[in-house]
Symmetry: C2
Subunit: 282 residues, 2 copies
């Protein structure tokens, strides 16, 4: 259902990992090829399974190719806190790469395709292609900024604002790797209990808050889709400023209504699959 979050191999330009790093830092052809050369074959991980286990030894980096994964911490009382969502093109355990042991786990929130890069390969890569190291450094900083942003939003905002902010972020991150388009729903199925673990709310309250957002026509009603009906409204509610994602092409995204409206209007006189291609909404 929905357009699959899925990267096929139409060439290295279209590889999600390349797209992700390119969204942060310019890479040349040689660097892209060298990077993809080190990728081990993909493996499948089913929802709920660990991609990287908490406490395990570091040997390779896990690159998400498709699906949705999350970084989490287990607390002493059995609660789980999701500290980051990982979308296609994201690297699961970069933070642990210098440390010997993973201090957090990575698990699959939906079915995922994952490819690994051996730690040694990466070490070699950043030496032979320093500019690649720069991209990775920037990627790390971008992740840190997201963490800071979560910290701000989680505590100081109301439940509706928090969810709105999360949706804005996820959508824009999908967009930057070419997996989402304005006005179109995305087949990204985040389970409500995962939303709860990420925003620090109870799943009951997530449910009720989602209903508010739906009733205000900000998001679509289908649970399995991330469908933003009113980007400007959602963004205003969330007080969302995408600067913290450190994407290169900031101009086009930061524009308020006018531009957004134009984009939305543009596709509205053409094809909107949203109403047709996807199952009924209510």
């Amino acid at each position: 259902m929905g357009p699959p979050i899925h990267a096929d191999a139409r060439g290295y330009h279209d590889h999600v990992l390349v797209r992700r790093l390119s969204s942060l830092w310019e890479l040349d052809e040689a660097e892209k090829i060298a990077l993809l050369d080190e990728l081990a074959p993909a493996r499948s991980v089913r929802r709920g399974e660990d991609i990287v286990s908490e406490g395990s030894k570091t040997a390779s980096l896990a690159v998400i190719l498709s699906g949705l994964a999350c970084q989490y911490h287990m607390l002493a009382d059995g609660q789980r806190q999701i500290v980051a969502f990982l979308l296609p093109g994201d690297i699961g355990n970069l933070f642990s790469s210098v440390v010997d042991v993973h201090d957090h786990g990575v698990s699959a929130s939906t079915h995922c395709e994952v490819a690994h890069i051996p730690q040694r390969s990466l070490d070699r890569l950043v030496i032979s292609h320093p500019n690649l190291g720069c991209a990775i450094w920037r990627y790390c900083l971008s992740q840190c900024s997201v963490l800071q942003s979560w910290l701000s939003n989680m505590r100081r905002r109301s439940a509706a604002e928090r969810l709105a902010h999360l949706f804005c972020e996820q959508f824009m991150r999908l967009e930057c790797v070419g997996l989402a388009e304005r006005g179109k729903p995305v087949g990204l199925h985040i389970v409500q209990s995962d939303l709860a673990d990420a925003t620090g709310m109870s799943s009951v309250h997530v449910n009720r808050t989602l209903q508010q957002l739906r009733n205000r026509s900000l998001i679509g009603r289908h649970p399995a889709l991330l469908e933003i009906l009113d980007w400007a409204g959602l963004r205003e509610l969330a007080d969302f400023d995408p600067a913290y994602l450190h994407l290169r092409r900031t101009g086009e995204f930061s524009e308020p209504e006018s531009r957004t409206a134009r984009i939305r209007g543009l596709e509205s006189d053409e094809v909107i699959p949203a109403s047709r291609a996807y199952p009924p909404v209510d």
Copy 2:
């Protein structure tokens, strides 16, 4: 190259910046000297003033020499979220160093001494001394881990647990640069409204929660001191596991006092008297 100009009388070993980086990664003498060589003279910043302003351009890194500073975000409604505390030896704006503009501010929570390292100097340093780059990379990851930890703790824990966790963290971070000792109060004056901005609570609730901790004899009663009366109790309450700080010598910290005293190189194995008051730090 060149003699250590800015090292104080006790020598460069004792410089907080060296201590901080050394706590994460082993540095040799040449690296320490080279690093300190690039430090510009310190300047004073009064409580409440900005060390780095949000939105300003990046030109140098701010190293905290003494006092307490914080990284913060201003939200649209005027609320302030503190995303990190900076202790002596910490670098205020490392995250922004690759980005052109600071996406967060750094302000002095108490009177601070701050020294700057020009961005260019740092760039040169990590090239001429790769091992130094390694230490900085690790420092960055350590900061990220702290952020993740804050995220977990802010959301999933009760008010008392959150404050307890924060105190454990601050104390241990002070300890690793030699500014705190078990059983002794530290002259670190965190104002309650700052605690509120950091933990996402109201200052009223911070106040009431502090009283709980005091009544349970976990912390001391003096507002201007960070005094941990019952380390084990506080740690248990907070479910504090220092692993996420990525300190090199992890073993010694999780052990009770006797061991700590031995490793810290005390001549006699007398227990440090809590009665002997610690001189005020700021």
